[in-house]
Amino acid sequence: MNYHGMRAIYRFEMARTGRTLMQSIVSPVISTSLYFVVFGAAIGSRINQIEGVSYGAFIVPGLIMLTLLTQSIANASFGIYFPRFTGTIYELLSAPLSFIEILVGYVGAAASKSIILGLIILATAGFFVPLHIAHPFWMLAFLLLTSVAFSLFGFIIGIWADGFEKLQIIPLLIITPLTFLGGTFYSISVLPAPWNTIALFNPVVYLVSGFRWSFYEVADVSVVLSLFMTVAFLAICLAVVGWMFKTGYRLRN
């Protein structure tokens, strides 16, 4: 194993985060705070409790997930796309690194950053609503699994994209709608038929539901199913990345 290589990539990526502190940490925290002010305090005060949880508190897990998904994808995709764009990827490809090691470096850094962000947002939420975490272990487990899975997904996008536009298309056109429709701000049980059934085809529903369960023990779908879906998504991403490296897709033409 090339530990020094993995460490070099990881530290390089984390240093990039440090340089762009405003963009990577401060801006998600500000936008999440705005959600709390608008949905939690302003509108939320007029909404009844959902399944015994105040609306402001109810949306906390969803908001963390929203940030987790968008930031994991943005970070990991940019992390690998930028060296391809500037050409510095030559060094990565000519280094004695296996694809697992490259992945650990890039995806590890992107996921670490997402987890840190998620925890910062959780702390920020604490200023607005009383926090209650029923299952801290599972909360962290979902946080970790989701960050890793979507960082992998971002990594795939970063390799697939051949322009900055493509880099943005999937997060904008697919992830954002799925997240907003995935029960971030509501329980899918409040949806009328057939939308409550259609919603079950949205993978984000499982992520948000499982994560919310770890806070308040309320869930739209069973926790086991949530966990299974998260791990399945992670496995699919891993398989795709494995294929990409094996064939040299868009990397070793």
């Binding site: 090339n2 530990y3 020094h4 290589g5 460490r7 070099a8 990539i9 530290r11 390089f12 240093a15 990039r16 340089r19 500037t86 050409g87 510095t88 030559y90 060094e91 990565l92 490809l93 000519s94 280094a95 004695p96 690194l97 296996s98 040299g248 070793r252 033409n253």
Partner: protein, 308 residues
Amino acid sequence: MRPIIEIVGLSKTYASGFTALKHVDLEIQRGEIFALLGPNGAGKTTLISIVCGIVNPSTGTVHVGGHEIRKDFRATRSLIGLVPQELTTDAFESVWATVSFSRGLFGLPPNPAHIEKVLKELSLWDKKDSRIMMLSGGMKRRVLIAKALSHEPKVLFLDEPTAGVDVSLRKDMWEVVRKLRDSGVTIILTTHYLEEAEEMADRIGVITKGELILIEDKAVLMRKLGKKQLTLHLHERLDALPESLSAYSLALNSDGQELIYTYDIQAERTGITRLLKDLAEAGIRFRDLNTTQSSLEDIFVDLVRQTQ
């Protein structure tokens, strides 16, 4: 001793259908400086990229230091340092950080003393804390060399190292390359400056349209280069060479107006004095004379033209 690089039957056809390399065989000896000469698009960079692991070959095998490049990629890539043609550097990192990063990437523990030595040798020491984007093109080129040397490679690829580099920097780089060779590093450089190949290389390979059309010791090439031609412009047309001059390697051009004598400048006697005396005795008078030397450039252009 086994060559440090052995390339057998290497071909590369890109997905676009473009064939960049056609069945290339090449051996690089330990400790030599090998210059790969060829016009743009000849396949030089593709060849280097395959050996370094950046491009997958279509067919053929490559061994570096006795290891196969795909099966044993860790061993082969650890031996190699690559300085790419384009100035592809990060922008925001400091020189020190980017060179240290390269060392880590190649699996070595940090060694500030080595990085310091490399930076000093490349006159980058006073720039070590500068952001790369603040550096001039020539300095960026040095940074790329420093990155390639950060993990103490045994083989160094320099892809067009002096393209767009001013004369004094070029001389500096040649100096650096020589020092490296003296320390036992094998160096493969691509260039389309013949001057550079002539100045630096032990052996020269000429590649065009994906084919290696010539591999020769520089000394042998220089001997070919050592041939000179003396052209005598005659007063009167000659139909045939007189019998008395048959001992010389003389040629008469098609209209009989010019006599061409080919000789070796490195030989002890060029035979010119005797030839001129014999010509006078044979009653051949000439109006003018000139000499030409076939340069490496001519050889190169000839070779490339022949294959087209």
